[in-house]
Amino acid sequence: MNTPLLYSVTALFDTPDGIIHAAEAVRKAGYKRYDIHTPYPVHGMDDAMGLKDSKLGFITLGAGLMGGAGVFAFISWVFMAAYPNVIGGKPFFSWPAFVPVTFEITVLSAVLVTIGSLIAFFFKFPNNSHPLHDTPYMKAVSCDTFGISIQADDPKFDEAAVTALLTSLHPRTVAPVCYDEAELNHTWKTFDPKFLALLAGVALLVSAATYGTMNVVLYMPPFDWMMNQNKFKPQQTTEQYPDSRMMRPVVAGTVARGFTPYPYKGMADSAGKSLVNPLQPTAKVLALGKEKYLTFCSPCHGNFAKGDSRLRGQFPNPPTLHSDKVRTWPDGSVYHVITEGQNIMPSYASQISREERWAVVHYVRALQRAFNAKESDQQ
């Protein structure tokens, strides 16, 4: 059994005037480590105790400024750098629309940081093992009495002198408050292994429950009814049709809207002889042809149709289009090759429309002429 240690000498007063006088007297007597306990803040007590103004406001100011500036910078970054996106035709940095969120975050960060530091640094809470807790003194000041407590660790502390001083102020009672060191040190530790194990257990339980709900329960009947709807989906089997295919083949002879079949399938010679370029080589047509050529043709044939793309050497080399063979081909043959493909070259019929193919033919002709210019072209 430890001997009780003296924490402080306390006195209780019945009136607010009494406690103000007591605070002034104790301060004038030169004590530093004392405190006043009142059920509500008593006006004028800060002056009586000689306390300086609370510095809490500076924390609020700093936190609010940082929060507000931080979120404003973040939103600006989002709109100007991370994902520039035109919204309603406004400039990327349309700052008036950033104000509401900036204001809310300023308030939120200022308030949370203020209260957090108030509790953690100014009060040093939570602390439920202070020597004054559970004393008749604390029960009295908690209700309607005003108390002063001069601590034993004050440099001037002398039990007899302090008791005499407090008695001279006409209090209701004067009493020492003692504490048991062993009891005081018996507190819950944040890094107690049992506590950490409890935290880990709770975390595990919550994660498992969340995972189970989101990834298992929602995919079980009856919660899966939106996934398993009563309708046909492609690639599924069915017993409704003899061929078991849910995706029905098109009826023979079906033609898509706006589609004209290509009549020269596998007939390169006829195509070359019969087909004529329906487009005039205007600037517009050449621009379209250039665009399509650069998109679909240049990856193999090169930007200038010399067959010099960066694929050279990695596949059977794509041919140049400036060869005599291609130059003497009729337009229809070039068109036919784009449509049907040739050797390793696939068909581009689905990527390039008919009009665009003819435009490409014009553009190829223009390239050929540029690289084999006649005398008359020089002017």
Binding site: P16, D17, I20, A23, D35, I36, H37, T38, P39, Y40, P41, V42, H43, G44, M45, D46, D47, M49, L51, S54, L56, G57, I75, V78, F79, A82, Y83, G88, S94, A97, F98, P100, V101, F103, E104, I105, V107, L108, A110, V111, L112, T114, I115, F122, F123, F125, N127, N128, S129, H130, L132, H133, M138, K139, V141, S142, C143, D144, F223, M226
Partner: protein
């Protein structure tokens, strides 16, 4: 002082008579320490059943999808946004009482501030239900509500009023909760030092954080309270302003008006005071708090309702004037349609409840009559609910193209969710009056006669 004239500089006393600090503790902790009465259980049974209806409706909503609601083209916003705005508005009275009246040094606020703050928190909780469930699958909604780094590499749209709403309402809830809890800390310490039950003692110790009523703490505490009040004041104005932006920033006729922010804030305070007054009238009677929540408190609240109700009435008139003055045929049609169209019954309910009945508060006899003020409070809340209904539904159901007009009718599930939110609110109020002190003991003691030193 002249002997005949009334001295308007004198404040009404914050409490009636001269109760002692100890008797204040007795009265306020009585509901916490005693067994609940039969009336309380009956009340809880009613509100619990309403809450149950809400839970069933929301479960059905989650199972079947938002198709069970009455919303469809062209009225895509129905009961969900009506109820959201209604509940957020209810909350505003609490912050006004706890923050703005604190900054204005109105001592009479101490008796009702705690209760009003609690109602703020409960009302915002009810409000938050609606934006959450209207997504249909709220557990997947974080993607478009909250900015977090995701695999799409895209952020939420910080320039959208709906996103502002998320920030405003969640900030409002957090700050209100912190404000409320900070006010509760000294009271938790008082409860801790009073209670004889061991379990309660542990609970109160945890929640009091070890508060010791030290003046060195009170000093920072009072500063923090002032800072919180200072932040809550612009915050509460910003919240309903931003809620009104949901409408005002769009281009729908009847919504696209600059009067919306002040008009919405006044309406919010109006309905909030009506709700607080209603609940306080019942509570003070039920728990014998007539000398702490005095008739003077209720009268002051009725005066605030008279003021804000008149502002709302002015806004209704001004909307019509501007519609005519703007020369915009679409605006003009919308307002004529409100007053004479298919929802005229809702419009005239709104006008009579919000503009005509509260004018009775000019008469002192009505203002100080408990039954009279209670009935007017209920009427005001009905009227303010209809205000939101009128704004949302009439504008959407008949906008630009007559070929796309429609008619909105809520379904039973719509009503079920709304009833559930009312049940949640009053269930929380009933639980609150049993487990927490409904009046701030430390604040009320500080304004008792003789509580402060005579000089200094």
């Amino acid at each position: 002082m002249s002997n005949s004239a009334i001295d308007y500089t004198l404040e009404h006393p914050a409490v009636a008579g001269t109760p002692s600090a100890a008797s204040i503790d007795e009265v306020i902790t009585a509901p916490i320490d005693s067994k609940p009465s039969r009336g309380w259980w009956i009340g809880l049974a009613i509100t619990g059943s309403m809450l149950g209806i809400g839970v069933l409706s929301v479960s059905w909503l989650f199972y079947k999808g938002t198709g069970v609601w009455g919303v469809n083209q062209p009225v895509g916003w129905g009961f969900d946004i009506v109820n959201f705005v209604f509940w957020v508005g209810i909350g505003h009275a609490g912050t006004l009482i706890s923050a703005i009246l604190f900054l204005l040094r109105q001592k009479w606020r101490t008796g009702i501030a705690r209760f009003a703050e609690a109602m703020t928190i409960f009302a915002v909780m009810c409000a938050l239900i609606f934006p959450l469930i209207h997504t249909g699958r709220p557990w997947l909604a974080a993607v478009y509500l909250l900015p977090y780094p995701n695999q799409h590499g895209i952020w939420v749209n910080f320039t959208s009023p709906l996103l502002w709403d998320v920030f405003a309402v969640s900030t409002y809830f957090t700050v209100s909760f912190v404000f409320w809890y900070i006010g509760l800390i000294p009271d938790f310490a008082m409860l801790r030092d009073r209670t004889k039950s061991k379990i309660k003692k542990i609970a109160y110790s945890i929640f009091s954080l070890g508060w010791r009523h030290s003046n060195r703490h009170w000093q920072h505490y009072e500063k923090a309270y002032l800072i919180l009040a200072g932040f809550s004041t612009p915050l509460v104005l910003s919240v309903h302003t931003i809620v009104s932006f949901d409408f005002a920033v769009s281009v729908i006729p009847g919504w696209h008006t600059t009067i919306f922010p002040p008009y919405f804030v006044a309406g919010a305070v109006f309905s909030g005071f009506a709700m607080v007054q209603n609940v306080l009238v019942v509570t003070r009677k039920f728990f014998g708090l007539e000398h702490i929540i005095t008739l003077n408190h209720l009268e002051n609240m009725n005066k605030v309702m008279l003021l804000t109700g008149s502002i709302v009435g002015y806004a209704y008139a001004m909307e019509f004037f501007i519609a005519w003055y703007s020369g915009n045929p679409l605006e003009q049609f919308v307002f004529l349609n409100r007053a004479l169209g298919p929802y005229a019954w809702a419009y005239w309910t709104m006008v009579s409840c919000n503009v005509i009945f509260p004018q009775l508060f000019w008469i002192k006899k009505v203002r100080t009559n408990i039954i009279g003020m209670f009935i007017i409070g209920v009427i005001v809340n009905i009227g303010m609910w209809f205000e939101r209904f009128v704004i949302v539904v009439t504008s959407l159901s008949r906008d630009f193209l007559p070929s796309s007009w429609g008619h909105y009718m809520p379904t039973a599930i719509d009503f079920g969710v709304f009833i559930g939110s009312i049940g949640l609110f009053f269930t929380l109020v009933l639980l609150f009056v049993r487990v927490l002190p409904v009046v701030s003991m430390s604040e009320i003691k500080a304004v008792l006669p003789g509580a402060q030193p005579d000089h200094h």
